[in-house]
Symmetry: C2
Subunit: 380 residues, 2 copies
């Protein structure tokens, strides 16, 4: 084990022993024992005093978690709403944002497929932003677009799901702000992975990936200038129960929810902050470099290069027509290695074929990467 | 303790000791230790093998749970989708059902407020069904309406939230079916409480109340004749990942979700079936009668009569201008009794003022009801 790897074994020690080689944090990270306990203890409290008495007890902790998550997303605490997933978040945003029917949303070619489906379904027209040959946003092109015929909205997925691609979200945010065009950021793969406080007008993310919180929890963050312009569709009952001191974004939060999972996420984000975000981001960048290096010249597979700053997502393209879903299944069944087969519907404007995704967390060891390399060679 | 109460103490023995007198199952029931353990054990499995490997392992159990819940709602297993809440379910239904803009939905005056908000928000026009003086659907009036100028949709909340009111859902379903008008049933307060297999075209419900499953889990059930007429808005990615042997309703299920909670609900519904639904329904009817009897002639409060078959929800109307929210808070803080203050936005077409709701589960004892009576007298 490298010295760098050794320094991160605390992460593994805080978790249950893995039964498999878990190289799949971009799908779902492994929650810590403390996060599992916080979630379960809260659910026990619900059963002991009732769901809503428990929720009242949990409110200070939920507010701390909201503030911490809002801070990670560069938004004031009152701008953060818990929802169920990134998909739920974009649906809420599309319902609430003041957008005309047929308004134009500009995206890069690597945009997450379900977001494209959501834009179309909500009556938006999609236009493509200029990108460099590697898929990275062309900032000069963005500036020209904003100065000429600007879209109603720019949407960036900060860290792509299917390959190591990090968009220059902070630079894009500065250009959009100067032009008065709102920028939304899908930070589902970015939160807990890279710096997400980049000045977006709206950002949304999930609990379960790099923050290693529970599944079924997502979050939506909206910058203050937009709060009073939102189209809020809350029921009268929800308006009647709004706590003093909250703002319009509170009304976007799902009222009836998996509060236990939110409590678990609050614990996970506290662990993340205690461990030091900058150190984790650096280590995840290193893990990505180590993964791509360990898989260099792998027979039958091409390692896609990192575009933008390094992240812990690595993508392998089959060179010999291998069935990626079958490879993923055999890695799991025959070698005990957890990975993801990325179908082209994840990024339909860019992907030409499926990719095998490898996404370890900070505790990844060289032994695990060697195991993966050997397994892929054995599978042919 | 009465003999009847004694026979139901197994329910209490399977739960953590209550710290409070929990008379609030219509808000959220107390989950069993086995349900809490199933939920937590699944979350541990996610942390041990990864979220999606765990989900694959859990699929047979989830399918058994779907079938059991579908059976309770009188729908084939493939017609059931897990969602996050009753609110999420009605939103999905309103998006998916083939309804013209401005179509008319007919409701009773006691309809759940947030449902009315959802209908309006989705462009439906609301018309009121004829009811008797006590709020019960006038079946002859429904028959006349269906034979004359029928609405596009009839919607019934089978068991009201704010008072003991059970609509004749089975009789309404038969009339609607004969007229070819779809009936949707909000079974949020009905599932696990009364017989919900009543022949609706669509029904939706929640985990956390009478079934005592986890919060953050709801379900939607759609009858087979509608499956191929639904307007499905699933993303291409979700369509790509649809398992063989599932139908269109699977695409209405939220793909990224609190699977641990769904596993917990599957355990809870299995416990419910093992205990015997008919016996639980009878006991809850008895608990409601015992509650209303224990509160008869309570100074300062009127006990609202049960309308339709008895259920375990009791509503108290303040006779002396008492602040119901304050009474609810003092019952909790000074007497350790959990109840709900029902604001008029729960049933805005019917409620004239707030009501205090008492909703024990099968394990309710006469001592608890006496405590409640004494506490309310002490609070004045």
């Amino acid at each position: 084990m490298t010295e760098a790897g050794d320094r991160w074994q605390w992460f593994r020690e805080r978790r249950l022993p893995a039964e498999l080689v878990h190289l799949d944090s971009a799908a779902a990270g492994r929650s810590s024992v403390a996060t599992l306990r916080a979630t379960a203890a809260y659910a026990e409290r619900e059963a002991t005093v009732g769901g809503y008495v428990a929720q009242a007890e949990g409110t200070p902790g939920l507010n701390e978690g909201r503030a911490a998550l809002a801070g990670l997303l560069g938004i004031p605490a009152l701008g953060l709403a818990f929802v169920e997933s990134a998909h739920a978040a974009i649906e809420v945003l599309l319902d609430a944002w003041p957008l005309a029917d047929g308004a134009v949303v500009a995206v890069v070619s690597s945009e997450w497929g379900p977001n494209l489906n959501a834009f179309s379904r909500h009556g938006l027209r999609i236009t493509e932003l200029a990108v460099h040959g590697d898929g990275l946003l062309d900032l000069a092109g963005l500036e020209r677009l904003l100065g000429g015929d600007p879209p109603a909205l720019v949407h960036l997925t900060q860290v792509a799901s299917h390959r190591p691609l990090v968009q220059p979200a902070a630079e894009a945010a500065a250009l959009c702000r100067a032009a008065g065009v709102p920028l939304w950021v899908d930070a589902a793969q970015a939160i807990g992975h890279v710096d997400t406080a980049i000045g977006a007008d709206a950002a949304y993310a999930v609990s379960r990936k790099w923050l290693t919180g529970p599944r079924g929890v997502g979050m939506l963050a909206i910058a203050e200038p937009w709060w009073d312009r939102l189209r809020i569709h809350a029921s009268d009952l929800q308006r009647d129960s709004q706590p003093a001191g909250t703002g319009p974004v509170w009304l976007l939060e799902s009222a009836e929810a998996n509060i236990a999972g939110r409590i678990g996420l609050c614990n996970a984000v506290q662990e993340f902050r205690s461990a030091g975000p900058a150190g984790i981001w650096q280590r995840l960048a290193q893990v990505g470099r180590q993964t791509r290096q360990a898989l260099t010249d792998l027979p039958g597979w091409a390692v896609l290069p990192a575009v933008g700053p390094s992240v812990a997502i690595t993508a392998l393209r089959p060179l010999g027509g291998q069935d990626v879903a079958a490879t993923r299944a055999r890695l799991l069944d025959e070698h005990g290695i957890v990975s993801t087969a990325c179908a082209t519907s994840r990024a339909p404007r860019e992907m030409k074929g499926p990719l095998l995704r490898i996404s370890p967390h900070v505790d990844c060891t060289p032994d695990e990467l060697n195991l993966l390399r050997k397994a892929l060679i054995a599978l042919g």
